[in-house]
Amino acid sequence: MLPLAILLLSLLLIAVGAGFLGALLGLGGGLIIVPALVLVFGVDVHLAVASSLVSVIATSSGSASRYARQGLIHLRLGFFLEIATALGGLTGAILTALVLVGSTGTDILFGVFAFVAVSAAVLIVRDLRHGGVTTPPPDPLADRWRLHAVLPATPTSPERQVRVGRVREGMAMSLAAGLASGLLGIGGGLYKVPAMTGLMGVPMKMASATSSMMIGITATSGAIVFLLLGDVVPLLTAPIAIGTLLGTLAGTRVHTVARASTLRLVFVAVLIGAAVLMLLHAAGVTSA
């Protein structure tokens, strides 16, 4: 067993790395934290998910506070979709903490993780070729709930009207994002951002800013469940939350500089590797 200081430091450093890489690619670090805790440190996957989910809240608050001051967050849309993501987060956390336990349940959880990691990899690769914002058809629901917005002007682009559509589809995908969040300890921005850009017609910058705020409530709805059930081990979670926060803050600062596609491919390789190792772990091939 490692001395406590070394152990906490290595947890911190892994979290810094995960947060940094995640921020560079506009994803949270959760998809790296969970397999790292399980495969490297041998942490029970349920506790790893709980720790990761708490650290996701730190990431969200840290990045959303900056976006909020820049006026980039579409508050009404965020609040509206949070109904779906919070409901999903609560459901996912109950599933992971109370239903997917025991050896079969845990195997299912590993399978879900592998599926989501691979689908994340696919989304990242697709985005390399076409990161499209669609123009959705008019949707009375968007009028009813006043979901249209104005993207603030920047030095390089003028103020822009944003016409939102496909509200039901966006809600459904937000529910799925919440479910993945509570199940796996991730933020779910992976699904929220494409829901807003690809389905609802929200510009990328506004979608990722809004998603970063929503992630806080999404993760909180699940984290409360894990915390009260005792799945959040404070000494394990603290260095991870601090590390992810520091890594994210550093990553968002270089975000605009480094968007190299090689980096994305490295991340894709990491995700697929993590998926394969998690499946092997579940099958009992590797031992932690």
Partner: protein, 132 residues
């Protein structure tokens, strides 16, 4: 039904309100996360300096339901860790309350209901964690 309502983002009063809310949310989130990170950092460093420091064996961790007695008997730094986690989790919730206050003042019934729905789900999380 009357004619379809015009693009409704153009109510100047409410958009000023929203941008003020956005600024305040930014400050609230920053204060919350910095405070939580400080508490957690002090808790971790303090734990390391304690004599007979607790051990952490990552491969042999088990869920332990927190109770008031377990929290009270854990020592100051263990307590700070828990408080830090609670502040971290409470920060987004505080953000919902702050937004709710703005929409109540702006007499925006639609979004008061939306935010109340979000709060109801968070309350359901508390119930689920405490009772299941």
């Amino acid at each position: 039904m009357s004619a379809p309502s015009p693009p409704s983002t153009k109510a100047p009063a409410s958009s000023t309100e929203l941008s003020r809310l956005s600024d305040r949310l930014g400050t609230l989130l920053q204060v919350g996360v910095v405070l939580a990170a400080l508490l957690l950092a002090i808790g971790v460093l303090g734990t390391l300096t304690e004599s007979g420091a607790p051990t952490l064996d990552p491969a042999n961790l088990h869920p332990v339901r927190p109770t008031l007695t377990s929290l009270a008997s854990g020592g100051i730094f263990a307590g700070l860790l828990v408080v830090g986690l609670v502040v971290l989790i409470a920060t987004p919730v505080a953000r919902v309350f702050l937004s709710l206050e703005t929409f109540v003042r702006g007499d925006d019934g639609d979004y008061v209901r939306v935010l109340l729905a979000v709060l109801a789900i968070l309350f359901a999380s508390v119930l689920a964690g405490a009772l299941l």
